[in-house]
Amino acid sequence: MRFRRYNESPPPDITSVMGRLLSDQVLREEFANSPHEVAQRLGLEGANLEYIAALDPVELEQQAETLVLKRFQEVRALAPNSLHALGGEALTLFRYYAQQEWPSGHRRHLIDTIGFLEFVNQNSFEIDATELRRIRRKR
């Protein structure tokens, strides 16, 4: 038996590790190749390690994709003109942006929309600047 050092952090719980996996595409790719190794690296032990290692990587990827698509839906509802202007590029750009940014709190969709439009703007794609100003005022 390994004793914990005094004041050593407790091992992460299952939802913490799922949070890491669902928000990190690179980690999910590593998990798909070596689930036990990744679960161990994330600090899991015993039954929790076995539980996470047994998750279906395809379903995990689908769950992560659903999270991104739901965020995208919210952003599209708040900034319809800008997303229309981006056309087929909108989702590709959002997928890239969404991997880096995870806003929190009850105004997260607003923060997400502003963040995405600023990201798009910085990358020289056309957005509706009036729409962005209007959304910023809501913040």
Binding site: D13, I14, T15, S16, M18, G19, R20, L22, S23, Y51, A54, L55, D56, E59, L60, Q62, Q63, E65, T66, L67, K70, R71, Q73, A77, W102, P103, S104, G105, H106, R108, H109, D112
Partner: protein, 262 residues
């Protein structure tokens, strides 16, 4: 008497107030009113029976609930004089990341205890009855308990009810290939107090809840079966998209009223 209503959205405000809406209850999303002036809720509460629905308390996350969110939630429930409050059998965030939407929890006894504790805390804090909602999921989180057993035990131990999302049940049954009727028959009918319903979408063989489609006939059949099975008190149309289609939404409400009172 079974009530039929819609999830309140700002885009529907004028239509809801119109004579033609014909509804007698509304579901308020708690987070939409955090930090907002509550006069609107007070006014709505005089006209409609209101239920307050939460999205972000993340009752499935181990550890203490966020007290700030709890307080805001309770304020909204008070302003709405909510007949009951609801949240999800899910987690949406961890100490490191807010995932923003609902994710399944393992159907284990450990997570059952976490949800029971959090459900009791929420109901006690708000001093109102609580009902818990089933979610859709792509990722199957196995455990010692099947989903219906998990929900029955949650309702029993936490002394709460069930908000059965008929669309979520339908979607899960299609995507994960099980019988929705068999699932339903495993649920203790007296727990089911409220329903959610909205049309599903189907893309690349996968069913989705985009909250914008018209209710399909096979979904209405399942709704009818649930209404025959359980003493449901309220049915809520949960639309989040295509909210400008007032005539279509009015038709949907009429259909639900017809099915609910048949």
């Amino acid at each position: 008497m079974r009530r039929v209503g819609v999830g309140y959205r700002a885009e529907l405000a004028d239509w809801i107030q119109s004579q033609s809406s014909g509804m007698d209850c509304l579901e308020i999303t708690a987070e939409h009113f955090f930090g907002a002036d509550h006069k609107l809720l007070n006014r709505l509460a005089e006209q409609f029976e209101l239920y307050v629905h939460g999205l972000g308390l993340s009752l499935g996350t181990p550890g203490p609930l966020d007290k700030k969110i709890l307080k805001q939630f309770a304020k909204v429930a008070d302003a709405a004089n909510a007949k009951w409050i609801s949240e999800h059998v899910a987690f949406t965030k961890t100490s490191e990341v807010d995932l923003g939407h609902l994710n399944p929890v393992p159907s284990t006894r450990e997570f059952l205890e976490i949800l029971v504790e959090h459900a009791q805390e929420l109901a006690d804090f708000c001093k109102r009855p609580l009902i818990m909602e089933n979610i859709t999921f792509d990722l199957k989180m196995h455990g010692e308990l099947g989903e219906p057993d998990f929900l029955n035990q949650l309702c029993d131990k936490a002394n709460c009810g069930l908000l059965l999302d008929v669309t979520n049940l339908f979607i899960n049954s299609k995507n994960h290939r099980f019988s929705a009727m068999e699932w339903l028959r495993e649920i203790q009918p007296s727990y089911i107090r409220q329903l959610h319903i909205v049309g599903y979408s189907l893309a690349d063989g996968s069913y989705r809840d985009h909250h914008g489609a018209k209710i399909q006939p096979d979904l209405l059949d399942l709704l009818g079966a649930v209404l025959d099975y359980a003493p449901v008190e309220a049915v809520i149309l949960e639309r989040d998209a295509r909210l400008h289609e007032f005539d279509e939404i009015a038709d949907e409400i009429s259909t639900l009223q017809r099915v609910a009172t048949a």
